[in-house]
């Protein structure tokens, strides 16, 4: 059974291996090995206070376990799923054990074994016997995290069928996004933890986590406390057996039913104009579609958390900008608006002349959903922060970003459509979608670019010390937003009218129309691997230079609340700080521009000679 399943998994992986996947796998494995190396390195830290080191390792192991649990949110489905065997006469527990063994064959498990090697390093520093105890502990711990991951995948799968579940995965996604942006806080904390350990309460909770039981066993072996060693190892083993049994029980088909959203009984409101009809449809979809609900949750949660993280070092400087972040994330999450609706576009194509109403109705819907939310967050954040100088910045940026978002959402959704499964074909996994990573950062970059002239006006007011000019920036934000929303929307409607059948074909077949000679543009083609590597490098350099190394120190210098952390500019002598900030912003913008340029060249070639 086990051998068959492992061979089957390898076959599936071999057949689904594309260039893009290989890049992801290679970069994922590299990142994982770096994390594993760090974990082992932590185990070699000063051991004069073993309790403090154990706290640190327990925290790191808990992060590994958390990573495994959260992985299905990102990585999607495992190659072998219980559903594949639902109709085969195999006992469920045997199937569960077989699938668990197959899960242990893979890059993730390999990287984790290396990382958990920290346990053996830790044991070896305490003596030979603890090192020997570390070996079974490592095996049990690995099986435990893998099993937790599979159970979590099962749970997320079931959750995603309801709107509440979609909202929960939205919160998780936002938390993980913020954590990946704010990882530097952890590095500040490392030194403190090593010096003093965690507080007794946190320490006790950490050690009680099953991911720490291996450590507990190793440490007890050093003290020859064999009862604790046995209890910890047995605990792991029993936990493993119980979880396998539970998983086996859950493997049957359809245990957790999809929750069904009901429409209103008598929605007798008959809209009088096409644009109102589209608007009503959009609002209902925002309320009822799990995928949209998820997008709706990610934006504000990400924005609020990002605003709150700097409170760790006592700064409220980011809070007024939570609204802008929500608007930007809202636009990013909606960038594939047409793709999400799938082939429903045929209804618009059969009603020529309604393309404009379709675009405008969607824009109004998006603004209704994200407008009050973003403005509200800006006002609350601004009041909390209390510095009156922040208001023009915050208001100018949020209004401009909302307008830019409302305009760019339909435009990019039409222009760069990413085909995904039709909603009615994946009723049971409504959060599945095409790979929108590239589209997301194009949206982020364009929305920031489109909104930035309003900020330039505020900056000019700042430089000339003119309050009037600074507040003119807010008017500029509103005006710019309105122009963006109107002009980009008009262009989106025109594209929809001109290229409707081609878009429908793209959604139907998942690939762009093969271009005949006069055809000038296709919507999305796979990007060659090498180019994609360059693209990602540019993207990361751009994001790091622009945000944490450029804009964050900028905000700090403007607000006067300076925490140096890892912001290069703030570590330099005073006269060099402003030039460094500006250089970083320029570097970031250049990288991102190049990145977008490359992305567009890769996905849409050959380009038409000149369409404005």
């Amino acid at each position: 059974m086990v051998g068959v399943l492992i061979r089957m998994k390898l076959a599936v992986m071999r057949h689904s291996s594309t260039d893009e996947r290989q890049i992801w796998m290679t970069s994922g494995a590299t990142a994982g090995l770096v994390a594993a190396g760090l974990t082992i390195w932590f185990a070699t830290y000063d051991i004069s206070r073993p309790a403090a080191l154990m706290d640190l390792l327990a925290a790191v192991f808990a992060m590994w376990a958390f990573g495994w649990i959260a992985a299905p949110v990102w990585g999607g489905q495992a190659p072998l799923r219980a559903e594949h065997f639902a109709h085969h006469p195999v006992p469920r527990v045997r199937l569960a054990a077989g699938l668990l063994a197959a899960s242990l064959v893979g890059i993730g498990a390999g990287v984790t074994v290396v990382g958990f090697g920290a346990l053996i390093v830790f044991g070896a520093r305490l003596g030979i016997v603890p090192a020997l105890v570390a070996v079974p502990a490592l095996v049990l711990q690995l099986a435990l995290v893998v099993l937790l991951s599979r159970l979590a995948a099962r749970l997320f799968g079931a959750l995603s069928r309801s709107r509440t579940g979609a909202a929960i995965t939205g919160v998780l996604t936002a938390v993980l996004l913020v954590a990946s942006q704010a990882g530097w806080i952890v590095f500040i904390a490392v030194e403190a933890v090593l010096a003093t350990g965690f507080s007794p309460g946190v320490s006790a909770v950490l050690r009680a986590l099953p991911s720490s039981w291996g450590l507990v066993a190793v440490e007890a072996a050093a003290r020859s406390d064999w009862a604790v060693v046995a209890a910890a190892l047995l605990g792991l083993a029993v936990g493993l057996v119980l979880l396998t049994l539970l998983w086996g029980r859950l493997l049957g088909p359809g245990r957790l039913a999809r929750s069904v959203v009901r429409g209103s009984d008598r929605s007798r409101r008959i809209p009088s104009r096409p644009v109102t009809a589209v608007y009503l449809k959009e609002l209902r979809t925002w309320r009822r579609d799990p995928l949209r609900v998820q997008g709706l949750v990610v934006a504000p949660v990400f924005a609020v958390l990002t605003g709150l993280v700097p409170l760790a070092f006592g700064s409220t400087a980011f809070l007024p900008y939570a609204g802008v972040l929500a608007a930007l994330l809202g636009a990013v999450g909606s960038a594939n608006l047409y793709g999400q609706d799938g082939t429903a576009l045929w209804l618009t194509l059969l009603r020529p002349g309604t393309e404009r109403a379709d675009v405008r109705g969607r824009q109004l819907g998006w603004l209704t959903v994200f407008g009050p939310l973003s403005l509200g967050l800006t006002v609350v954040g601004g009041l909390w922060h209390g510095d009156p100088d922040a208001w023009p910045w915050a208001l100018a940026s949020v209004t401009a970003a909302l307008g830019a978002g409302a305009g760019l959402v339909p435009l990019l959704a039409v222009d760069q459509l990413v085909p995904g499964p039709d909603p009615h074909r994946n009723r049971d996994s409504p959060l599945d979608h095409g790979d929108v990573t590239g589209l997301s950062f194009v949206m982020l970059f364009l929305a920031i670019t489109a909104a930035s002239p309003a900020l330039a006006v505020v900056a000019a007011g700042e430089a000339m010390d003119s309050p009037a000019l600074r507040w003119t920036g807010v008017a500029a934000g509103v005006g710019l937003g309105a122009v963006c929303a109107w002009a980009f929307g008009a262009r989106a409607a025109r594209r929809l009218r001109e290229r409707g059948p081609e878009l429908l074909y793209l959604m139907r077949s998942g690939k762009p129309v093969t271009p005949p000679e006069e055809e000038t543009e296709q919507a999305a083609a796979p990007i060659p691997a090498a180019r994609q590597a360059i693209l990602w490098t540019l993207f990361f350099v751009g994001v790091i230079a622009l945000f944490p190394q450029g804009l964050v120190p900028l905000v700090m210098k403007l607000s006067g609340e300076i925490a140096r952390v890892w912001f290069l500019a703030l570590h330099l002598p005073d006269p060099w700080q402003w030039p460094t900030v500006i250089a970083m912003i320029l570097l970031g913008l250049t990288s991102l521009t190049l990145c977008v340029h490359l992305y567009r060249r890769s996905t849409a070639r050959p380009r038409p000679p000149a369409t404005p």
Partner: protein
Amino acid sequence: MSDAGAAPALRVDGLHKAFGEHVAANRVSLTVQPGSFYGLVGPNGAGKTTTLSMAVGLQRPDAGRSLVFGVDVWRDPLAAKRLMGVLPDGLALPERLTGRELLTYLGTLSGLDPATVERRASELLDVMELSGSAERTLVIDYSTGMRKKIGLASALLHGPRLLVLDEPFEAVDPVSAATLKNILRRFVAGGGAVLLSSHVMALVEQLCDTVAVMAGGVVAAEGPLDEVRGGRTLEEAFVELVGADVSGGEGLSWLGS
């Protein structure tokens, strides 16, 4: 209107579509007369869906044209599309609406006034048995039969004179199928024209007066039902026209032993 009255309900003239090397529809021509019930049959991959998509304006043809009561679908889309109702196979709808909300939305988009939208939506939902207990069900939770029925309701909503239906009976239960057939027969009896595609021969024999057989992207035969089947069953005529070998007679000796 007198012009339109004299023209065929649908004239497909040399529609052609190639995907790379593969020719999906090879200079296909069909003529559907007003008041006729026209069946387009062919095996999977024969090019039926591609032909119908090009005929109604959902897929851009490489060559050829499609005229609805004399109006060119690709030159004057607004006028042509007003004259026809379309039910494609397997395409998405605005899934998070109820049936009534969907019809209201589409009716308003088609430019009907609110009173007409409300009256027609109610009638269509009643006839399709989608009112009452199904009133609060979202389209995404509809069964296959219900999806076909709401699809046909939305195709009928604006009062077209030609219906183009791609596999309208695919995976539909017998009760829903009977409802659909009744409505289509009434539509034809009232002077409308129906073009439907199917690979269920019995159904086409039962409903249609005119048939065309497609295989490998070309029309192998077109004409009145009796002429095309020529004294055989449509299935026999079809297998002969398509030139398929019927397998399944050899091997599998272990089956059921």
